[in-house]
Amino acid sequence: MTMIQAINSAMDVMMARDPAMIVMGEDVGFFGGVFRATAGLQAKYGKTRVFDTPITECGIIGVAVGMGAYGLRPVPEIQFADYIYPALDQLVSEAARLRYRSAGEFTAPLTVRSPFGGGIFGGQTHSQSPEGIFTHVSGVKTVIPATPYDAKGLLIASIEDNDPVLFFEPKRIYNGPFDGHWDRPAQNWSKHPGGAVPEGYYRIELGKANIVRAGDAVTILAYGTMVHVCAAVVEDSGVDAEIIDLRTLVPLDIETIEASVKKTGRCMIVHEATRTGGFGAELSALVQERCFYHLEAPIARVTGFDTPYPHSLEWAYFPGPVRIGEALKTLMKDA
């Protein structure tokens, strides 16, 4: 399956299992979503369970919070993560705090799906990676898959989770893995092991990272599209790196990270999002606090620059093979 098909399959499986689950968002109903993630669901489950909404993100999330309070399990879609900001108040002030402020009387068991990330010439408002805004908010979980197999298992676990989950889908790898070599032919998921996806129900527990490549020389922490870019760089570099796909940022699999860095003594963090205040800063602080006496070099961060996401200069902005490769060389210099 492609990642889109895997996401579609996860929702199909969960809608069949749980009559309380509903899907809503802009263009998700009859049309099946601008990325086809909800294709066929309305025909199968009816208009009262899969429906189009007005173009109002604060309304979509606010309504979903109310549906959750009633007892439904809403899976709202925000068409692009770049457009999640009108819903920030409902996410941060309401969904994230409802359980806490009502001492468990009311909960917001929603899963907000949203395509995110760049690498598609999306320019400023179709490329952003706002995960760091949400990892800063107590009460929400943040999940980012890197393969179709993970996308389905993690989405099922997210929908079943009784806390609000932000499920960011790296749209650059919806149809195939992307190693950052934009000038090479596109790949598809059929040749990648992560593209093998079971038809039925399975779940991948939230808070568990995936060691994509075991190694002893350096630990690379990444998620989403960057997992594949890092894997390609490591392949070309010959460095025996351990690549960890974090899968969920909150809750974070700190044990896997800590064990790896203590083993390798070096750590590189890679994400597309802008650097300052990004999730990489939190990762860096955690590694520094926990692995200080094992570190043989300063922790390296390769991220998007602290600029809005540009259009024509995309491949200069994107943390691609050149930037990651040079950073890796620097990090390994005295090894």
């Binding site: 509903i22 009262t48 369970r49 909404t53 007005p54 109002t56 604060c58 309304g59 999330i61 606010g62 309504v63 979903a64 919070v65 109310g66 549906m67 959750g68 309070a69 009633y70 007892g71 439904l72 809403p74 009108p86 108040d89 409902q90 002030s93 309401e94 705090r97 409802l98 359980r99 806490y100 402020r101 009502s102 001492a103 468990g104 009387e105 009311f106 909960t107 107590s138 009460g139 979980k141 989770d161 009784n162 806390d163 808070g207 909150v250 809750p251 974070l252 700190i254």
Partner: protein, 433 residues
């Protein structure tokens, strides 16, 4: 290259543009009179069929539905013809609410809690609505609808426990006083963020409809917070999906220090906002408990019969300060509340019952005393569980409960670190067993 600029075009006769910044009619030191507020006589408004299309509500959105007339009689098509018993119950709820507000306001002034907000003058808006709804209908209140809980006979002690953030506080000391949450009484968790409950109520109502339930939702916000974007998105959703929801706007003329003009009241009514959304709009005398009851009952029937949402503007007046942190003498005329032409909601219902020979002054005075006693007794009971000034009443480590369903490692770690530091410091706070 030659630029084409506006100044090339002849416009020499135009006056400079001016920016209109609304200003209330009266400020501190002014004598308030409300002759300019149009108050139509009671009983004039038509009462349409609940199936009437939303487009036909122009008159009711700009008018004022009133039942109780100047002679204390219930008149006109909107008279809900309530039994004397029900009217007496409503009156008692309003009296109890006012007594509760008085006592809790004083408790804040005595330093027993950090904060309080009264609903003085607005008692009818919440109390009459609560009596017109079914107990199973879900209410999404703002912070000034404590009357819903009181009318639903919720425990005053429980409400005070929350105000005191004491050891029996159902919200474990996590919420600012008056931000109640009582799921059992159909009272949704109050948020400090204004109007967020509006789309949530619509979502609850949509869920009820999608599940083929018969329950409806009701939601409240002030006129000031109709300016929030959430109000717009909620109205759009309610209209698009014909959600079974009653959307109440409590127009009490003031949003803290800003008069209703800053929410758009100079140009239109709040009920009239409904017209553009395709929602039935009613404008009601909010100090007339029978009118509030009748409008709510009508809207509930419209919602329950799948005819869709109703927006009700309750025209009333915030008789006291915004909160215990507010001093209204700094921004408005001192005599506004007494000059307000729609009077006092408690007095008006009382006078009606007296006029019907179903009540008398002596009974009313006795009820005032009883309610004051009931509140006082509840306060004594609640204070046994502690008041805010007396230190922390919840075990320290509960601070971390309920962020998530299950506590993730980073919160467990922070909790353990906090407890270790507190233990080391010797600070004598309780811990969970």
């Amino acid at each position: 290259m030659e630029r084409c600029v506006a100044s090339d075009h002849p416009r020499s006769n135009l006056q400079p543009l001016t920016l209109h910044v609304p200003e209330p009619r009266f400020r501190p030191g002014d004598e308030a009179d409300f002759v300019a507020v149009e108050v139509p006589a009671a009983g004039l408004s038509r009462r349409p069929d609940t199936a009437e299309p939303a487009a036909d509500f122009h008159d009711l959105s700009y008018g004022l539905i009133r039942v109780l007339d100047d002679a204390n009689q219930a008149v006109g098509a909107w008279d809900p013809k309530l039994s004397p018993d029900l009217m007496r119950r409503m009156l008692r709820s309003m009296v109890l609410l006012r007594a509760f507000d008085e006592r809790m306001f004083r408790a804040q002034r005595q330093g027993k809690t950090s904060f309080y907000m009264k609903a003085t003058g607005e008692e009818a808006v919440a109390v009459a609505a609560a009596h017109a709804l079914d107990y199973e209908d879900m209410c999404f209140p703002s912070y000034r609808q404590q009357g819903l809980l009181i009318a639903r006979n919720w425990s005053l002690v429980d409400m005070m426990n929350q105000i005191y953030s004491n050891s029996a506080d159902r919200l474990q000391g996590k919420q600012l006083p008056i931000m109640y949450s009582v799921r059992e009484a159909g009272f949704f968790s109050i948020s400090g963020n204004l109007t967020t409950q509006y789309p949530q109520a619509v979502g609850w109502a949509m869920a009820s409809a999608a599940k083929g339930d018969t329950r409806i939702a009701a939601v409240w916000c002030g006129e000031g917070s109709t300016a929030e974007g959430d109000f717009h998105s909620a109205c759009t959703f309610a209209s698009v999906y014909r959600a079974p929801v009653i959307m109440n706007v409590v127009n009490n003329q003031w949003a803290i220090s800003s008069f209703s003009g800053f929410a758009g009241a100079e140009a239109t009514t709040f009920a009239a906002r409904a017209i553009g959304y395709g929602i039935a709009g009613l404008r009601v005398d909010g100090n007339d408990a029978l009118a509030v009851y009748a409008a709510t009952q009508w809207a509930a029937e419209r919602a329950r019969t799948n005819q869709g949402p109703t927006l009700i503007e309750h025209f009333t007046y915030r008789a006291e300060g915004h909160s215990t942190s507010d001093d209204p003498s700094q921004y408005r005329s001192a005599n506004e509340a007494t000059a307000w032409p729609l009077g006092d909601p408690i007095k008006r219902l009382k006078d009606h019952l007296v006029a019907c020979r179903e009540w008398d002054e002596a009974a009313h005075a006795a009820q005032d005393r009883e309610c004051a006693e009931q509140v006082k007794a509840a306060q004594k009971e609640a204070e046994k569980n502690g008041i805010l000034g007396h230190g922390l009443h919840q075990p320290l480590d509960t601070l971390f409960d309920g962020v998530f369903e299950e506590m993730p490692w980073h919160l467990r770690e922070q909790q353990a670190q906090m407890l270790a530091e507190e233990t080391a410091s010797g600070r004598p706070w309780d811990r969970k067993a």
